[in-house]
Symmetry: C2
Subunit: 361 residues, 2 copies
């Protein structure tokens, strides 16, 4: 009989999903320090007949193998941004207040409770609890699994429990960053005419951005609003020098119907004639809400779906050919906020919605 | 009889002004460390019947008191920017190479030699050797004298020995710096429409700068070319944030016929409707080359005068009502350069020109 580690926090799975949220938040798990919470989750899932449990670093993957015709993946990250005197969790006016309550241990608690309780779902289920979402994308635990164990991510539809105020947000826009670089000739500003001012040359670039009218593009029944914005500008050597360089950094949010190549081509057309370098590009995710499985999900949780504008890890599923949506408790505007807080009612609503869908005929 | 300090470098005033330049350069005097060179200059000027010598900090002022009807002030700074393996001075192909040769110990050597030798000039002379020109304007030795001993700066015409390649450059443009600040509303760049992009709002500011046609303004017979340029631009919070602030920093070089108030008014007209704050403003200096004394000087040194574009300490004389010109050996483009070098012929030419004027009639 294994000797249990007395230092390991033990999760009480019989508690409500709201109480489980509190338990999970009070196990600090800032990115890079997820071992303890991963141990606790692994312990909670161990020894259940209906689940095969795999661990990869601090990511836990628990799968049913019931031979159903379809498989649904439900995933959430277990790390948080740094705490800031906002733990342990306290309850206030129907809210749980503290780091991780919104982003996203409410969603994790719902998933963990259902993973344990749903022993005979109508579809096979894959529950993923992963690490390193809040830091450099290269460290992302879901990305690591997609590279090393894509078999564990296989499925027909995926739900990411990121906060959506308990509504369904489908897919996500893609995002590209690019630098537009202007070149001049440095000179003393007392004799400006012997130089060439690179900052002045940025005038038409900013004029293009100010006049740009972003498209709204329908994908699988949801309308994605695009955006093209300067997110940075820099130039200047000293107060008495004509600057020889200026850089405008732009961020293009593009509909999930566009490929990365399409998005880059669009940027090159918009800024034709300027030196443009794409520094970072990530495709979005199609919502896939026209599939019967997704329609059933939507009907069970109620309400109508809306598009997700921010890039989330649903795009990692989309890249594997798996349509994916976001569905979780909490107002995303409160993610990372020092007064992060989730409505207890939203946690319970998400649990109800998923349970209704996953226990239906 | 005073005991001489064996550590004090002794200047050989019988040497040529070129050799004296070398001697002065080899006494290192980076701004803030001028005591040794000031001691050496004070020692060289001490005990001469035709000069009254005053010292203020490391500034030395030596004046004749011959009761002439006019007084001319000849000034130069004795500090340099930091050395960079470019001392001691070496001679190469007719040049003296090393820190300070251009900026401006060539001019100081000419002045020091003539201060000692011109015992009966046709005008009274004030020779000023001052400290802290290459650093924060608040430390400037000439500025300190202007505040604490304006009587020592009194005169009808002033010559600053800053490098002009041995030509006369009259007066100088004024200079103003201002920040134009744009305000937006911060938002996540995935939902740009809930924010307002401050960088985009800089588009018309840059368009104004790019289209601006600087004036050329005649003052006392010299034509001053103005300039208005961005010297810096900044904005941006993060790669996924709509920026709520952008700042364009501009530098306006304005003709010496404009007051500081005129210059600021012009900036406010050019950027009407934008939030503009003047951070720094210094008026220029009229050349005063239409005065008879200046005409005599020009005739003696030969050639024609041109306007000085960069701001120099001549403006400190102008602020006291004393017209002033720049006249010294060395190409100003070599000032502060690691390969700083002055043509020996230019040093001798400046000595010849000043001597011809100050021994005439």
């Amino acid at each position: 009989m294994p000797v249990s580690d007395p230092a390991l926090p033990v999760l009480d799975l019989a508690a409500t999903s709201a109480d489980l949220t509190r338990q999970l938040c009070d196990i600090q798990s800032v990115s890079g320090d997820e071992a303890t919470i991963a141990d606790a989750i692994a312990a909670a899932l161990a020894g259940l007949d209906h689940l095969e449990v795999n661990r990869d670093g601090d990511a836990i993957v628990a799968r049913t193998a019931l031979g159903r015709g379809k498989r649904v993946v439900i995933a959430g990250h277990i790390d948080t941004v740094p705490i800031n005197n906002n733990l342990p969790v306290r309850e206030e006016d129907g809210y749980l207040v503290g780091r991780g309550t919104v982003d996203m241990k409410g969603g994790v608690a719902v998933a963990l409770k259902l993973a344990v309780e749903l022993t005979a779902p109508p579809v096979d289920l894959t529950w993923i609890f992963y690490d390193h979402e809040e830091v450099d994308s290269a460290l992302n635990g879901l990305g690591r699994l997609a590279r090393s164990r894509p078999d564990l991510l296989a499925g027909d539809f995926a739900i990411l429990g990121e906060p959506t105020s308990a509504t369904v947000e489908g897919g996500c826009n893609g995002t590209a960053r690019a630098d537009i670089r202007l070149h001049g000739v440095r000179a003393h500003s007392a004799r400006a005419w012997v130089g060439h001012n690179a900052i002045h040359d940025a005038a038409p670039v900013l004029a293009i951005l100010a006049a740009y009218e972003p498209a709204s593009i329908e994908v699988d029944g949801l309308v994605y609003r695009e955006g093209l914005n300067a997110v940075g500008i820099s130039g200047g050597v000293a107060g008495n020098v004509i600057p020889d360089e200026a850089i405008v950094s732009v961020n293009y949010r593009f509909a999930p119907s566009r490929s990365a190549a399409d998005a880059e081509q669009h940027l090159r057309e918009v800024f034709a004639g300027f030196e443009l370098e794409v520094s970072d590009i990530a495709e979005g995710a199609r919502p896939g809400l026209d599939a019967p499985l997704a329609q059933d999900f939507l009907a069970a949780v109620g309400g109508t779906a809306s598009p997700k504008y921010g890039w989330t890890d649903v795009a990692r599923f989309s890249a594997l050919g798996i349509p994916a949506v976001n569905y979780g408790p909490g107002d995303p505007m409160k993610a990372h906020a020092d007064d992060e807080r989730v409505a207890i009612a939203e946690i319970l609503e998400c649990e109800r919605g998923l349970r209704a869908w996953l226990t239906a005929g």
